[in-house]
Point group: C2
Chain length 402, copies 2
Amino acid sequence: MLIVQKYGGTSVGDLDKIANVAKKVAKTKKEGNSIIVVVSAMSGETNKLIGYAKHFSKIPAKREMDMLLSSGERVTASLLSIALQEMGINAVAMTGRQAGIVTNSSHTTARIEAIETKYMQKEIDSGKVIVVAGFQGVSEDGIVTTLGRGGSDLSAVAIAGALNADVCEIYSDVDGIYTTDPRIEPKAKKLDMISYDEMLELASLGAKVLQNRSVELAKKLNVKLYAKSTFDENSTGTLITEEENIMEKPIVSGIALDKNQARVSIMGVVDRPGIAGEIFEALAKGDINVDMIIQTTGHNSQTNMDFTVPENELEETKSVMDKLSNDYSSVEYDKAVVKVSIVGVGMKSHSGVASTAFKTLANENINIMMISTSEIKISMIVEDKYSELVVKALHSAYELDK
Amino acid sequence: MLIVQKYGGTSVGDLDKIANVAKKVAKTKKEGNSIIVVVSAMSGETNKLIGYAKHFSKIPAKREMDMLLSSGERVTASLLSIALQEMGINAVAMTGRQAGIVTNSSHTTARIEAIETKYMQKEIDSGKVIVVAGFQGVSEDGIVTTLGRGGSDLSAVAIAGALNADVCEIYSDVDGIYTTDPRIEPKAKKLDMISYDEMLELASLGAKVLQNRSVELAKKLNVKLYAKSTFDENSTGTLITEEENIMEKPIVSGIALDKNQARVSIMGVVDRPGIAGEIFEALAKGDINVDMIIQTTGHNSQTNMDFTVPENELEETKSVMDKLSNDYSSVEYDKAVVKVSIVGVGMKSHSGVASTAFKTLANENINIMMISTSEIKISMIVEDKYSELVVKALHSAYELDK
């Protein structure tokens, strides 16, 4: 098998942990596999370097940030390669450039445009374990770039796709994807499999394990993705794959909670054609990610409009709304809300999933402020004080603890 | 003027010191100069990274060491560039590769083979200050290399030579070259100028300021080299230049002390043609740097031979000598010796320099164990307990404190 393994910052957090990773890699190699290992910077390193840069400038130049931050992954990659060699494993460390990862020139948030696989292929063909510094590439004009938060996952998935690897294993200190956040519901169960689309909808559950960009890329390149634990030897992890590969499709796979939500309620919106378009275009131009939208008819040819935005984009939202003040009579903002989502591919073919949710919340006397549904997801906005109660009640209602 | 400035590890040892360097660079830029700044890793960083590697392997792979160690200079270069930009200076950070520094493939001790100046020239032409990560380059097959100890000095000199810079300033925490080590003789005076050849002979005096490889390269490329202090605003430093540029040539420029010496005395060497050649060839093959050699005639067609080696190569020397034991009757080793050297280009045209040295030591009742002379140097081996006494006596005899 050709396996791509990615180890995050906490997995390579100190020298002993790097030694532990070397052992795991050596074991996989000795089982007869070809391996490419992608590593992050040792945990804390990237933040330390960002702190250094911020000492000099509030908004440091992005090209320089890329040269700065890409150094952390290089340190880990060379150390892991040295550790492997000491164990008698033929290993070679490669920077993003040496691995052939070509990106566009958007420094600090570069997109991978191509991977010239010949450099890695040559080393694999000669039986070497390749250790690639994650999170980085090189632009066409030869300057180091980085891929943004979660960039090492992206490196791993892109490499797995380009080399047609059998599997891409993302190692962290969490042993997979759970039916809900175990800190809220201790009865949460680890999922053995989940589809790409479900994983994307359950983003908040996977936040500590994999970021959506990597899942999207894995889906696009059809990379079999495993989320596994570095520290639990027996971790079987969660396989994230195509829906067709999942034989027994659960109706509901998981319950996600998103606390980073704020509700904006606009009252007395002037009722003329195109008004909604104008408001949301202005928000989009302000780089604000509007999530759920509800429009209700008011009186005197005016309507009310509710939508949610990420809580950390609320200030920006307010300044956009202030500029549009001629278009409505009043606006209210509410940060004390959360979004609870029920996700499952089985919903497509099962009815009654939504009504179970509504009944469950009604039984608890919880008011649902907003609802939106997609083929595989039902999301509801509720008061944040009910967060835990809602998650637990739904987790139980869909029998996810069974 | 086109100026290359190099700042060593202690000059960029922490964020405040990097800010201080930024101020110095900005000042030089605002005076109307074009500047390329070459930086080392923050002091302690390189040793920290070496420590990490040694945690995994006594002899870590050199290619991996180069990827590991080159990261330190990249951090400093990007931070200094960010600091300069924040001060309104148009700056750009470059890795060794981006600066066009091409080396051979001798990882950890690479030699610079060429500098493709077009990348730096373009940035200079557009008025930018370039901050280059020192100590590193790239081999022809595209792999990061490092230049060995003192490598950032070498980067600076090579860049100054390739771009035909007006001057190359090497900044450290020492404000130039002294007539002797001020820790031994507080009356030591800073030299305003010194020739390349004298500097090479005074290596031990310059050890903390510049390494011989850089001086040799500066001589070859005819680069005007200044050793200056980062921290003393009024430091005029020492200019290291061609002998022809030094108008008033001092008879003696300085007194150097080399404590890293051991004496090997071979008694009863079989007196046949080629025997000396055999012994020194065997030592050369063992990578032992033999320094001074003296041969004296013994009796019974046997001779005695004395030579010195660096003290830290003495164990290796012993094992070579053991293998040659058929060629002599006995051998003695003496680590309790030092080499004192009197250096000056004026010696060529002045007689009596050597006799002053011999008289001075005779007055102090110090026995001279070995003597060797070159056009611009007189070296003597004495017992190490006399080190300070000899240096002070000679410093005074040649009136270097005046």
